[in-house]
């Protein structure tokens, strides 16, 4: 498994060719996702557990988050509407946070550490499924277009090789690092995309250009369709208000 993980990160062609021909390729791919997902989920779960250890600390984090959002909001605009919104938020935030702290402090049948432990376990076991879901969507979309480009791979080969694209997401475990967290996540995402393109190229015996098109075509189409729908909606709303 570690060999496969390293092979995915280093874009090892021989390892990928071996996985394509392996009858248990999907099982091995899913195991890799499980491994990476559990690692990232456990780290993120522990981080959340520390941040939400007490009701006071939970509310303190939310308060800090709101203050940061409001500061950014004020920096981006100085219109009278912004001033009004900021005033309403400042008037209401303390009573609101007091209410949240009271809600979190209410007695429960099991003590608070049990709830924290459940949430740690939930974050740990949910992360592999969220990675699997994203990978399957990307692999299925890439498979459909790759077949249009003359690709000959089966869906099993595409899923097995597509699973390798989750390996770089082990970097998501470092997302908890202050300031640098977002950078690690971005690197993981781009690296995963490169692995998926190479995986598509090997699964379907396509050149890298066609594989890149196969991977990016549907996401780009969806973005264009989304923007078009948004424009249509805005035009409709403007027409309705104006007319």
């Amino acid at each position: 498994m570690i060999e496969m993980f390293n092979g995915a990160l280093t874009l090892n062609r021989n390892m990928m060719l071996g996985l394509r021909e392996a009858p248990d390729g999907v099982r091995r791919g899913f195991l890799l996702i499980l491994l990476v997902g559990l690692l990232v989920g456990a780290v993120q779960g522990f981080n959340t557990m520390i941040q939400t250890a007490t009701p006071e600390r939970t509310v303190q984090n939310w308060r800090r988050e709101l203050d940061s959002q409001v500061s950014q909001f004020v920096l981006t605009s100085n219109s009278p509407a912004t001033a009004d919104i900021t005033r309403v938020i400042n008037e209401n935030k303390e009573p609101f946070f007091t209410m949240l702290e009271e809600l979190l402090s209410l007695p429960t049948p099991l003590p608070r550490p049990a709830s924290l432990l459940f949430q740690l376990l939930a974050t740990t076991v949910s992360r592999p499924l969220s990675y699997l879901s994203g990978m399957l969507l990307a692999a299925a979309a890439a498979h459909v277009i790759a077949r249009q480009f003359g690709g000959q791979g089966t869906i099993q080969q595409m899923v097995a090789l597509g699973s390798l694209s989750v390996a770089p997401h082990a970097l998501d475990a470092l997302a908890v690092v202050p300031i640098m967290g977002g950078t690690f996540t971005t690197i993981a995402w781009v690296w995963g995309l490169v692995v998926l393109i190479i995986a598509t190229s090997i699964a379907h015996n396509l050149d890298a250009g066609k594989a890149a098109m196969a991977v990016l075509f549907i996401p780009l189409l969806l973005i264009v369709a989304g923007l078009f729908s948004l424009c249509m909606l805005l035009a409709l709303l403007v027409a309705a208000v104006g007319g």
Partner: protein, 237 residues
């Protein structure tokens, strides 16, 4: 007893084959004379197991949440103390009435997990809904696959599509309170695609469309309905 354990092991291996998109498992189902009955049993057992896991997880959530009445009272007092709420009620008294009505709902207005007795019905209904879903999806896929030139009998399509319920084994994760399920729908669709390919011996594209036709038509209907609703709203405005 040994025979029963043997059948359960076979069923588990088939479900795992469905989950891992193993073509061999689908071929075994296609060629087995008892494939249809075994498929129905598999779908019902997976549904029951998932329902039971969800019930246990929900019970865990219930045990870590406060009493619904205490939660509702604290929320009510907290919202009523907000200056924003007080200003809004002063301007629009109807809002206060609507707020009171919302807070008279039992179980914290749906914000909290239901108790173990109330959610027990979910365990009983889970296999029924799973079987119902299998019949509907399997039948639609069979009709579409035959229209695209497929040759399998109805029983063979159903026997193979039953393995797609193996994807729902992922939902067993719900046994952990607060766990989030994902990937079951997309993996189920992929397993259904493999089921059509293996049962009807169809090429890739007809198999794809046999599976995608139902969801595509549903999406199209939903889009038409949403657009109609939007035009209605705009015309009212």
């Amino acid at each position: 007893m040994r025979a029963c354990m043997g059948s359960l092991t076979t069923l588990f291996q088939l479900a795992l084959g469905g989950l891992l998109l193993d073509p061999q498992a689908f071929r075994i189902q296609r060629d087995a004379p008892e494939g249809f009955g075994r498929g129905a049993l598999l779908v019902a057992l997976v549904g029951l197991a998932v329902g039971l896991a969800a019930w246990i997880g929900n019970f865990g959530v219930y045990l870590t949440q406060p009493d619904a009445n205490a939660f509702r009272d604290t929320l009510y007092d907290g919202v009523a103390r907000l200056p924003l709420y007080q200003n809004l009620v002063a301007e629009t008294p109807e809002l206060g009435v609507a707020f009171e009505e919302a807070f008279n709902q039992p179980q914290g207005g749906g914000l909290l997990a239901t108790g173990p007795i109330e959610s027990l019905a979910g365990v009983l209904f889970a296999p029924v809904f799973a079987l119902l879903g299998w019949f509907i999806v399997g039948s639609v896929v069979h009709i579409a696959a035959r229209a695209f030139g497929g040759s399998a009998a109805y029983q063979q399509t159903m026997a193979c599509t039953a393995l797609a319920s193996g994807a729902h084994l992922l939902a067993l994760v719900q046994i952990v309170p607060y766990a989030q399920v994902a990937a079951t729908t997309i993996l189920g669709l992929l397993a259904t695609y493999v089921a059509v390919r293996e049962s009807h011996q169809l090429p890739a594209w007809p198999s794809f469309w046999a599976v995608a036709l139902g969801p595509t038509l549903l999406l199209l209907l939903a889009a038409i309905f949403s657009c109609g609703l939007l035009f209605l709203l705009v015309s009212v405005v």
